[in-house]
């Protein structure tokens, strides 16, 4: 293309496009980000991209923002970091805020009430399928015995004793780091 766009704008646009077309949360945007980062702009090569993805997967937090932060910083320092994150987060966040604002305004109308009621069975099934996938992943990586043991304890801790999930997750970390290697 004949037009030269400033690099900060290019960073913003690349992540804006990848995320606005990524329907279904962060993981769905990964191939689109690959397309922008590797194919279109050549900011990273194939190996660098997969290394970065590996690092991203071993850190907590949303994956799309981790990729944006890393690439933005790599290309254009802290301004790039901010431009990439802005492109990733702002458009969909603003859309959600305005959409919900409209819905909340008509909270009492039977139309909106019907909508919030009907969404519950879908969310329930969606969560059930996610539960199933997560459980299958757990069994696939640490086996049945560890998975069932951790899940049982987590169920008691969260459901019965109402322990904050943060503590339960930290305990699970410790179990994974120190007990699983012994077996």
């Amino acid at each position: 293309m004949g037009i030269i766009i400033p690099i900060g704008v290019a960073v913003f646009l690349a992540f804006f496009i990848a995320n606005i077309l990524g329907y279904g949360g962060g993981p769905a945007s990964i191939p689109l980000m690959y397309d922008q980062i590797v194919t279109r702009y050549g900011w990273l090569d194939n190996t660098e991209f997969s290394q970065m993805l590996a690092l991203g997967n071993s850190l907590p937090g949303p994956i799309a923002t981790k990729i944006a932060a890393y690439v933005g910083y790599d290309v254009y320092g802290w301004p790039g970091f901010i431009a990439a994150l802005a492109g990733t987060i702002i458009p969909s966040a603003v859309a959600l805020i305005y959409l919900l604002k409209i819905l909340r305004k008509y909270k009492q109308s039977p139309i909106v009430k019907g909508m919030s009621l009907l969404v519950q069975p879908v969310i329930a099934i969606m969560m059930l399928l996610l539960t199933w996938n997560m459980a299958a992943d757990a069994v696939g990586s640490i086996g049945y015995i560890h998975s069932v043991f951790i899940a049982g304890l987590a169920f008691l801790a969260l459901g019965k004793f109402k322990i904050h999930p943060a503590f339960v997750i930290i305990l699970a970390f410790a179990y994974g780091g120190f007990i699983i290697p012994l077996t």
């Binding site: 995320n19 606005i20 077309l21 279904g24 949360g25 962060g26 290394q51 970065m52 690092l55 907590p60 937090g61 949303p62 923002t65 932060a69 890393y70 970091f81 987060i89 969909s92 966040a93 859309a95 959600l96 805020i97 959409l99 139309i111 909106v112 019907g114 909508m115 919030s116 009907l118 969404v119 519950q120 069975p121 879908v122 329930a124 099934i125 969606m126 969560m127 059930l128 539960t131 997560m134 459980a135 757990a138 990586s141 640490i142 560890h146 998975s147 951790i150 899940a151 987590a154 969260l158 459901g159 999930p165 943060a166 997750i169 930290i170 699970a172 970390f173 994974g176 780091g177 290697p181």
Partner: protein
């Protein structure tokens, strides 16, 4: 600790740091902070927000974080909430790239992350149960189970995207009470006729 900014920062930072396994795994954590711990909104509102968030493109967790912050404190709240949620891991990403080989090849770290998965599964399962319970309470047993079956069919058997399935249900939901009223009126009409 009544300052909403402090609550937002602590709550959203905790969900950002402990949310392993991508977007969906962090939803129960956000729900815990927003509904059970700090009462920023009730469970119904959380469910609506999650549903609408799924119909829009872009990362789920950051959209939820932005909305929660906005609800509490307007735009500054949205910025604080999103920043608290994403910055710790984003900054870690920039500085840890030097240790990439150590981190992504370490068996200890992959075991630690894998050990969190059953916990996340339990949390997702609890959410599924609670939303299912609410659906049955609101819709009645017959309709509730019918809609579970339809959702399962669309999501799992046909593999439609969740955002699209939610949109279909939202569309029907908009007419649900109208249809229900019409059915009720017909029944009462018939009763009046026979009487």
């Amino acid at each position: 600790m009544k300052n909403p900014y402090t609550e937002l920062t602590i709550g959203m930072m905790r969900t950002g740091i402990l949310g392993f396994g991508g977007g969906p795994s962090v939803i129960p954590l956000i729900r815990h902070e927003a509904v059970s711990r700090y009462h920023w909104l009730d469970d119904d509102e959380f469910g609506d927000t999650l549903a609408i968030a799924n119909t829009l493109p872009g990362p789920i967790a950051t959209k939820m974080a932005a909305y929660l912050g906005y609800k509490l404190k307007g735009w500054p709240g949205a910025i604080v909430s999103v920043a608290a949620h994403v910055l710790p891991s984003c900054i870690a990403m920039v500085f840890l790239i030097a240790f990439i080989n150590v981190l992504s090849n370490s068996a200890m770290i992959s075991n630690m992350i894998a050990a969190v998965m059953p916990v996340v599964a339990v949390m997702l399962g609890q959410m599924a149960y609670e939303f299912g319970e609410k659906a049955v309470k609101g819709l009645g047993k017959v309709l509730g189970i019918t809609f579970f079956a339809i959702s399962f069919l669309l999501l799992q058997v046909i593999s439609l995207h969740p955002g699209i399935v939610i949109m279909m249900f939202l569309l029907y939901g908009a007419f649900h009470y109208k249809l229900k009223d019409r059915l009720k009126n017909k029944k009462t009409d018939r009763k009046e006729e026979s009487a």
